[in-house]
């Protein structure tokens, strides 16, 4: 068994909204992360999938301390095998650990400052975190630029001169330069074209192999998730509803929501037009979640029990977790492994 690198324990995040019933009414709590717990092992890729508004980005940001969680712990296992609660750290210690955990954002057009040259963007984390000589910084930047496939002669240019794929490479180089152990990729390839997407996914995989980086890969695209991850967590309305290895999750899903998500993905194969499960209705409002299981208004298998009682996330097989009362009984459809003859 590989070493754990991060334990997320009972993480909650609440936001306050103005009550809609009265102008001066009491603020209302909206729970966007509800009791999130999972562990993360060194060198693996854990993907977090779900529809917009399910809290996947909030979870990623809470882990890197971009926003502060309401309660819960994020235990980080340092290289010296110490266990520290990353969320409680302050000052110097926090700064030191921040080097180990980095983030890549979705939109490479807004995540890079237009007033900084590519060299400045990539070297900024080094300048902020380490006391290095100019020549050392130069070497490191050149090294990382080469590894991420950037032409070193372009380093003096500004972001506007680069295409989307190139900008995402710059963002990856900046995240990598402090030699992090964990990178949170928030929809890192969603804004890119298909042919460029494949380049960036391959780059992320290569870098993982080379440096043994752990990824938390946040995405809404199940085809990419299946390609890149070792394990997958499916989120729905602030909760994890299923967590399993990629093969188990896609081969035999145990939560109806996972099944519906997979079935909704349009397949690039005109012959494979299987009967699809089309969910009725929309994602419920997290400010006013349904009773019982939050998925029950859209679930085709619901019973009275689902309306009244919220299911716990429980282990139902070998490290396969699902939050459904009927996880064992339902015979849900996964994705058949077909070696497609296309292309």
């Amino acid at each position: 068994m590989t070493k754990p690198i991060l334990d997320v324990v009972h993480l909650h995040k609440d936001y306050q909204t103005k009550s809609k019933t009265a102008l001066f009414g009491k603020p209302k709590n909206v729970r966007v992360l509800n009791d999130i717990s999972f562990e993360l092992f060194e060198g693996e890729t854990l993907s977090i999938v779900g529809e917009s508004g399910c809290g996947k980005t909030t979870l990623g940001r809470c882990i890197v301390k971009g926003i502060s969680a309401s309660s819960g712990e994020v235990i980080y296992h340092t290289e010296e095998e110490e266990r520290v609660d990353f969320l409680k750290l302050k000052g110097k210690e926090a700064k030191k650990l921040r080097r180990d955990i980095q983030m890549i954002f979705q939109d490479p057009y807004s995540s890079l400052s237009p007033r900084m040259s590519v060299y400045d963007i990539i070297s900024e984390p080094l300048v902020a975190n380490f006391k290095l000589k100019k020549s050392e910084i130069d070497d490191k930047v050149a090294d990382i630029a080469e590894k991420t496939g950037l032409n070193t002669s372009y380093l003096k240019r500004y972001p506007h001169a680069f295409s989307g794929g190139q900008r995402q490479r710059i963002a990856i180089a900046r995240a990598l330069i402090t030699q992090p152990r964990l990178i949170v990729c928030d929809e890192a390839v969603s804004a890119l074209d298909v042919s460029i997407q494949a380049q960036i996914i391959n780059l992320l995989k290569d870098l993982q192999e080379q440096f043994r980086i752990t990824y938390i890969f946040i995405s809404h695209d199940l085809s990419i998730v299946q390609n890149i991850s070792d394990r997958v967590a499916v989120m729905h309305l602030g909760r994890i509803v299923e967590l399993a290895s990629t093969d188990a999750l896609f081969g035999s899903p145990k939560h109806p929501y996972t099944e519906a998500l997979m079935s909704a993905v349009p397949q690039p194969d005109p012959e494979r037009q299987k009967s699809r499960i089309i969910l009725e209705g929309e994602v419920p409002n997290p400010a006013n979640p349904p009773s019982g299981c939050h998925f029950h208004p859209r679930c085709v298998y619901r019973t009275d029990k689902c309306v009244q009682q919220a299911p716990e996330l429980r282990e139902i097989g070998d490290r396969h977790y699902a939050a459904c009362h009927y996880a064992e009984e339902l015979n849900l459809r996964g994705v058949q492994d077909e070696s497609a003859s296309i292309g």
Binding site: S163, L222, Q226, F250, Q267, P270, I278, I342
Partner: protein, 347 residues
């Protein structure tokens, strides 16, 4: 062949040698460079390509709603299938602000846009905006217009229409707004619906609903659809015919099955291979197309895909424009690998 048979053979809309030029500070950009295609009555044509390939400009040119900077040439020949007798019109030659094109926009050819958030005016109710098109094109009676609008809202699966009719766009979710936009586009029973990335801003589950809706409405109303998207999955599910665009040109065009199972152009092949797919082999590395799309500014006559192509032939692909080659009756490709070695248009 009887005259009747010839009439049904005629396409609803045919685009001939469409070119769109934009003057930039550093030269002329050939955003769309000689595009030809036909849309048949009741069929779906998919226009697929990466960002910047000119697919949106092409679709907007059909209605003459591109910005003034776009110099458009070529012909968009439209012949109404319902008007008797019908005359063929070149939509490009019509005054973009004139009466004639305005009687076609929204009535015969309507459009749905990618961003349901920005396509509606926030100042008017949804019902008011749907009624607007009906009042212009179908009836002058407000009561009747409202009845048609409510009916349309019901058809696109919006429940509680009476209440929804008087709500503002911000009270609708993304999926609902897209449904409302579809109901607006279909309210005058158009012959052609242009859908520019209609589901890109939506979640997969909602996307599945909207695509299903479009398909069932097409069956009901019998309209043709021009579907512009970058998603090959959507193409595979929705289209009868596909045109693949790259750098302002259609590089390959074929019926959907032919394109997916027998792709010819190296770009089409690369696109199909670089797509991660569900149920695919996980450990397998994705094949990517190296490099990125060049800017089509001051391009010399050559194949636009040359720099990224694995099968390029130096001295052939980079010295002249690639002609269109007809591989079979309905499959055409723009690539020297398949063209007549003596050059020239081999149609």
């Amino acid at each position: 062949m009887t005259t009747q048979a010839i009439r049904t053979e005629q396409p609803l809309l045919s685009v001939k040698d469409l070119k769109i030029r934009i003057q930039m500070d550093n030269g002329e950009m050939k955003a769309v460079d000689g595009v030809d295609f036909e849309i048949k009555k009741g069929k779906t044509l998919g226009l697929v390509g990466e960002s910047g390939c000119g697919k949106s400009l092409t679709s907007r040119a059909l209605l003459g709603i591109n910005p003034k900077e776009c110099e458009t040439s070529g012909a968009v020949l439209y012949r109404s299938a319902t008007d008797q007798p019908s005359e063929q019109l070149n939509l490009l030659s019509l005054d973009p602000n004139g009466k004639q094109i305005r009687s076609i926009r929204g009535r015969k050819i309507s459009m749905i846009f990618q961003e349901p958030m920005t396509a509606f005016s926030p100042m008017y109710t949804i019902g008011n905006q749907i009624m607007e098109a009906i009042l212009i094109h179908r009836t002058k009676n407000k009561k009747e217009a409202k009845r048609i609008a409510l009916d349309m809202l019901g058809k696109v699966g919006i429940s509680d229409q009476e209440k929804r009719f008087d709500q503002y766009p911000h009270e609708f979710s993304g999926g609902m707004r897209q449904r409302a936009m579809i109901s607006m586009a279909l309210s005058c029973n158009p012959e052609l619906l242009i859908a520019d990335e209609p589901t890109t801003a939506l979640d997969v589950t909602i996307q599945a609903q909207v695509l299903e809706l479009m398909r069932s409405l097409q069956a009901d109303f019998g309209m043709a659809i021009l579907l512009v998207t970058h998603d090959l999955g959507i193409i595979a599910q929705m289209c009868d015919e596909v045109a693949v665009m790259y750098l302002g040109k259609i590089v390959e065009q074929a019926p959907v099955k032919e394109l997916f199972y027998n792709p010819k152009h190296p770009y089409t092949k690369g696109l199909l291979r670089s797509m991660p797919r569900l149920g695919g082999n996980k450990s397998k590395r994705l094949e990517s197309i190296e490099g990125s799309v060049p800017m089509p500014i001051n391009m010399p006559p050559m194949c636009g895909f040359y720099d990224r192509c694995k099968d390029r032939i130096e001295g052939v692909c980079n010295v002249r424009d690639v002609p269109k080659t007809q591989i079979s009756e309905d499959h055409s490709v723009r690539c020297f690998l398949y063209s007549d070695p003596h050059g020239g248009e081999s149609q």
